[in-house]
């Protein structure tokens, strides 16, 4: 049952809608009212909330797993990297939960009683794995935040400056927070949620376009005096594009997080200007930050450029450019499965590279965390082109992100750039292999055509099988004159007529003058065949030549035929030779089929070789270069 009360300070009505709420902030005079049975006690004024770009407000309504809920309270917290909101939810069935909102990411959790003792805050570190509430977890963030202010009704006492040490845990499906501001600490267990899937109503007026509700902060760089601005109230650091100094936006004196770059320092100019507006899948995006990161491998520096984009709902994306290759990245709300390689969304990502130390070397624009030059982290990359998973780890943070490859043309279209972006150099880790699809499609065509050729060949074998017209044995004697075969009749024209001759020739040679004669017309087709066959032993058995022979006559008309044969046996070895002579019509050979199969497979074979060469070049840049490349390097 809701409790209706009156603010002791201003007399305004105050409603406690949840029985679990013990504190409410008067929305008229910001008095903090503590609930005591049916009465309320004014315990002082609540500090003012910092302006942010949240699309939510008290009274916003949504649905989670088909149960309606209302936002009835909020705690705003500040941590070293920026602001986050914890919204207190009251569901229609009177149970309560928390909706955590940070950088456009949302996580819904509720208190989970645990039997086992929770590990001490000081004993945890980013990347550490632990077992809790029957699940395996990885520590992804450790922070000691402080409460900025609260509003609405809340289940515990809060006030400005109230410290909140907290540890975030993630696994492949769930999210958890250990809240060390209470004794004993509390475990909040839940899962990431997608903003658009919560069926929101009564969102904050003016959202989701941030420029309509957030005033631009304009100021001058304390290092060089150049004009600067911050459009997002979430931003806590800004880099000067003129001198490279990085300013702490939370500092009233605009303290420097990083000094100006030295004049001789290499300085990159963003290819996408700060403030550039673009479209991604119909949603508006704006470039608000630019930073350059660098790593060193074997003494050689590699650097790449990252553009921070924010969309209309306050979600952040990264557009990363390396050697003209682009990729668009977003952080993952849950962890992928690690099994040597990594599985994410059903796809296996292969380990590509581990970079022990990546350093920020240039900062421009605004950022929702206290970025500074010299900030270091370790990065592990896994690829499944066109996507790449990256695990970035610092002392206090472990963040997974997924990036998708983009062509420069795609990026230019996104931001409607007038000038073309530079063409990419080399092959990027997650660049799609252009020959893979070609290989697969040509292979698909090839095997179908080979199958068709097999069927065709079967039809020809059944239709045009060999027909035997004559089989006759001869004994050829040395110095023998011409002899003739028996007559045979061709009932119709033969496109091919084969004369096959198998002899007993051994270590000898002979010549045969053959004439195919039409008995009726006298038309004749002469041919001379020479046969030689030698064999012996010389470090093994060897042979040379053949004792058999076949010759083909083409397009022989119907009629009665015989063969006139004049043998000549080698005079230096005048031995008799036995021969079996066959005359065959039709017949289907396999040589054409083999040639066709080779030709058809040539295309996918070439595409396969090109695809393999592309992959070799890709993996040359990785921690796992192909074995052949290693040998090449050794040479």
């Amino acid at each position: 049952m809701p409790l209706n009360a009156t603010c002791p300070a201003c007399g305004a009505p105050v409603v406690f809608r949840s029985a679990a709420s013990i504190l409410a902030v008067c929305e008229y005079c910001q008095s903090t009212l503590l609930r005591q049975d049916a009465a309320v006690e004014d315990i002082g004024k609540m500090a003012a909330l910092a302006e942010d770009r949240s699309p939510l407000q008290l009274g916003s309504e949504g649905r989670y797993r088909d149960v309606p809920f209302t936002l009835i309270g909020r705690i705003q917290l500040r941590y070293s990297q920026g602001l986050w909101n914890e919204w207190y939810l009251l569901f229609a069935d009177q149970h309560t939960a928390w909706l955590s909102e940070a950088g456009g990411e949302y996580v819904l959790t509720s208190v989970q009683p645990v039997q086992e003792p929770l590990p001490p805050f000081e004993g945890l570190s980013a990347g550490q794995r632990l077992q809790l509430a029957g699940q395996a977890w990885t520590v992804t963030n450790l922070e000691t935040a402080s409460c900025v202010a609260g509003e609405g009704e809340l289940p515990f006492k809060v006030g400005g400056g109230y410290p909140v040490p907290a540890v975030d845990l993630k696994n492949t499906r769930h999210f958890a927070t250990l809240d060390y501001s209470e004794t004993p600490p509390l475990l909040f267990l839940g899962e990431p949620v997608v903003f658009d899937q919560l069926a929101w109503t009564r969102l904050r007026e003016g959202m989701p376009l941030p420029e309509n509700v957030v005033p631009v902060r304009s100021f001058h760089c304390p290092a060089c005096g150049a004009p600067m601005q911050a459009k997002s109230m979430d931003s806590v650091a800004a880099g000067c594009i003129s001198c490279g100094a990085v300013i702490d936006l939370n500092s009233k004196t605009q303290a420097l997080l990083s000094k100006a770059l030295k004049p001789e320092a290499e300085r990159y100019t963003p290819q996408l200007p700060l403030g550039a507006k673009g479209q991604l899948d119909g949603a508006a995006l704006e470039v608000i930050g630019f930073l350059v990161r660098q790593c060193r491998v074997a003494g050689r520096a590699y650097d790449w450029r990252e553009y921070l984009l924010v969309d209309a709902t306050g979600q952040y994306r990264w557009l990363i450019e390396y050697d003209g290759h682009w990729s668009l990245a977003r952080t993952l709300p849950t962890l992928p499965v690690e099994l040597g390689n990594v599985r994410y969304e059903g796809e296996i990502f292969r380990h590509f590279q581990t970079t022990q130390e990546v350093e920020v070397i240039q900062v421009a624009g605004e950022f929702p965390w206290r970025v500074q030059r010299g900030e270091r982290s370790g990065v592990i990359d896994y690829v499944a082109p066109p996507r790449m998973l990256s695990c970035e780890r610092s002392d206090k943070d472990l963040t997974w992100s997924v990036a998708s490859y983009l062509t420069p043309q795609h990026v230019a279209e996104m931001f409607a750039l007038k000038a073309a972006l530079p063409e990419p150099v080399g092959i990027h880790a997650c660049q799609p292999n252009p020959w893979l699809e070609t290989r697969n499609r040509t292979w698909s065509t090839a095997w179908k055509l080979v199958l068709a050729a097999i069927l065709l060949q079967a039809v020809f074998l059944l239709t045009f099988g060999e027909r035997l017209w004559l089989r006759q044995d001869f004994d050829f004697m040395p110095a023998q004159g011409e002899t003739t075969s028996r007559e045979f009749v061709l009932p119709k024209m033969e496109k091919t007529l084969r004369v096959r001759n198998r002899t007993s020739l051994n270590n000898n040679w002979m010549s045969l003058d053959l004439v195919l004669v039409n008995k009726t017309s006298g038309e004749a087709w002469p041919v001379t065949r020479e046969l030689s066959f030698y064999q012996g032993w010389d470090d093994g058995h060897w042979t040379e030549g053949s004792a058999s022979d076949e010759v083909v006559f083409q397009r022989i008309p119907a009629g009665t035929y015989y063969l006139a044969i004049e043998p000549e046996i080698a005079p230096e070895k005048p031995e008799p030779v036995n021969a079996r002579l066959e005359v065959l019509g039709g017949g289907v050979g396999w040589s054409n089929w083999v040639m066709l199969a080779l030709f058809v497979l040539l295309w996918p074979g070439f595409a396969y070789a090109r695809a393999a060469a592309f992959e070799t070049r890709r993996w040359l840049e990785s921690d796992h270069p192909p074995a052949d490349a290693d040998e090449g390097d050794d040479d």
Binding site: V517, E523, F553, S591, N592
Partner: protein, 47 residues
Amino acid sequence: MYIRIARFASLLALVLFAYAQYQGWNLFDDHADSGRGHSGSSRSYHK
């Protein structure tokens, strides 16, 4: 483009294959009219 060329060329090869098989052509056949000796054309023969 490569895929189109591959498909066109392969289909053409299949048609050629079917025609060659129908005609009884065989790539490695030793033809009497293209072989050695005095072959090359028919002539009248009388015993």
